[in-house]
C-alpha cells in the first residue's frame, strides 16, 4: 500500500509543509503492518527507527524483571513513538506492541536527518511533539509517585457495593479514577493488587469482594 500524503499532512510532525514537499518526504517513509499482539519494538534493542501510527493502536510499555508491565502510553493514529533513540543514539527505551491490526509509517534515523536537512522548519514541530510526550510522562510519574490510591479504591468499592435490596450502581475504572483523584491506569493496578492479595476477584463485569474485613482494614490504614 502506498504512503498517503494526506495522512502525512495531518500529523503534527509535518505541519506547515506543502503537498509537494510532503510528496518528496514520502520517499523516506516506509510502511509496516503488524497483527494483534505482535511486538513491534523491543526495549533495549537498537532499532534506529521511529513510527507514526496510521491506523490501529500501539501499546508502549516497560517490563520489570518479574514480568510486571507498566504501560507508558497508548499511541493512536497520527501519533508517534520511539523517537528517543533517533536523537540520542541509544537503544529503544521501551517496547511496543500492536493492540490490534495496525498500519505504521516508519522513518529511519538517517532518513529523518535527510528530511531535517531539506526541511529544517519541521524541527520546531518535532520539539513540540517531544514536549507533549515529556508532559504526558511527567503526569504519569506524578500519579505513580505521589498517589497511594489503594485505600481510596478500597473505600469506593465498599461504598458502591450493592446488596440484595438496594440497586447496585455500576462503575467503570475511569469513574473510580475520577473519584479517587487519579488515573485509570492507577486504579487498574490497585484492583489487580487487591486481586493478588485475595481481597477480591474479577468475574467478568463483576468485582466480587471476597474479604470485606481486609478491605475495611485497608480503608482505615489509609486515613
Amino acid at each position: 500500500m502506498a504512503i498517503e500524503v494526506e495522512f502525512l499532512k495531518s500529523i503534527p510532525y509535518f505541519s506547515g509543509l506543502s503537498l509537494t514537499e510532503l510528496d518528496a518526504i514520502k520517499q523516506f517513509v516506509f510502511e509496516k503492518t503488524a497483527e494483534r499482539g505482535e511486538l513491534i519494538l523491543l526495549e533495549g534493542e537498537s532499532a534506529g527507527v521511529f513510527f507514526f501510527v496510521a491506523s490501529g493502536a500501539v501499546k508502549v510499555f516497560k517490563t520489570s524483571a518479574e514480568g510486571k508491565e507498566q504501560i507508558l502510553n497508548i499511541v493512536r493514529p497520527g501519533e508517534s513513538f520511539n523517537e528517543v533513540p533517533i536523537f540520542d543514539d541509544g537503544t529503544n527505551p521501551s517496547s511496543a506492541q500492536a493492540m490490534g491490526p495496525v498500519v505504521l509509517y516508519g522513518v529511519r534515523k538517517d532518513s529523518l536527518q535527510s528530511i531535517l536537512r531539506d526541511y529544517p522548519q519541521i524541527a520546531l514541530n518535532i520539539i513540540k511533539v517531544l514536549a507533549e510526550q515529556v508532559r504526558q510522562l511527567v503526569s504519569l510519574v506524578e500519579d505513580l509517585s505521589f498517589r497511594h490510591v489503594i485505600g481510596r479504591v478500597a473505600k469506593i468499592l465498599l461504598e458502591y457495593t450493592g446488596d440484595e435490596t438496594a440497586l447496585r450502581p455500576r462503575l467503570t475504572q475511569q469513574e473510580m479514577a475520577a473519584m479517587a483523584g487519579t488515573a485509570r491506569e492507577v486504579v487498574g493496578r490497585s484492583l489487580k493488587a487487591l486481586e493478588e492479595e485475595g481481597v477480591l476477584r474479577f468475574d467478568r463485569h463483576r468485582i466480587v469482594i471476597t474479604d470485606k474485613k481486609a478491605l475495611q482494614k485497608m480503608v482505615e490504614a489509609s486515613l
Binding site: 491490526p101 495496525v102 446488596d163 447496585r168 462503575l171 467503570t172
Partner: protein, 69 residues
C-alpha cells in the same frame, strides 16, 4: 442476556479503533456508529473503553460481596 460494554452512540465518532482492539469481535460499525453484538466470548478486557478517544464506550463493573455461609 449477556452483559456487554455500553456504547453512547451520540459520542461515537465511528473511528473503529474499538473494532480494531476487540479480541472477540463483539463490535461492528453500523451507519457510522459502533454497535455491540452480544457474545459470551467477551471477557471484559475493557480495551474498547481504554482505546475510545471520545469516551463513547464504557465497561462498568457491578461490585458485589461474595456470599459466605
Amino acid at each position: 442476556m449477556v452483559v456487554m460494554p455500553v456504547v453512547d452512540q451520540e459520542k461515537c465518532n465511528g473511528c473503529e479503533l474499538c473494532i480494531n482492539v476487540c479480541p472477540c469481535r463483539a463490535l461492528v460499525l453500523v451507519k457510522n456508529v459502533i454497535t455491540v453484538i452480544e457474545t459470551k466470548d467477551c471477557g471484559w478486557c475493557i480495551q474498547c473503553e481504554v482505546i475510545c478517544p471520545s469516551g463513547a464506550i464504557t465497561c462498568p463493573y457491578e461490585i458485589v460481596i461474595e456470599e459466605t455461609h
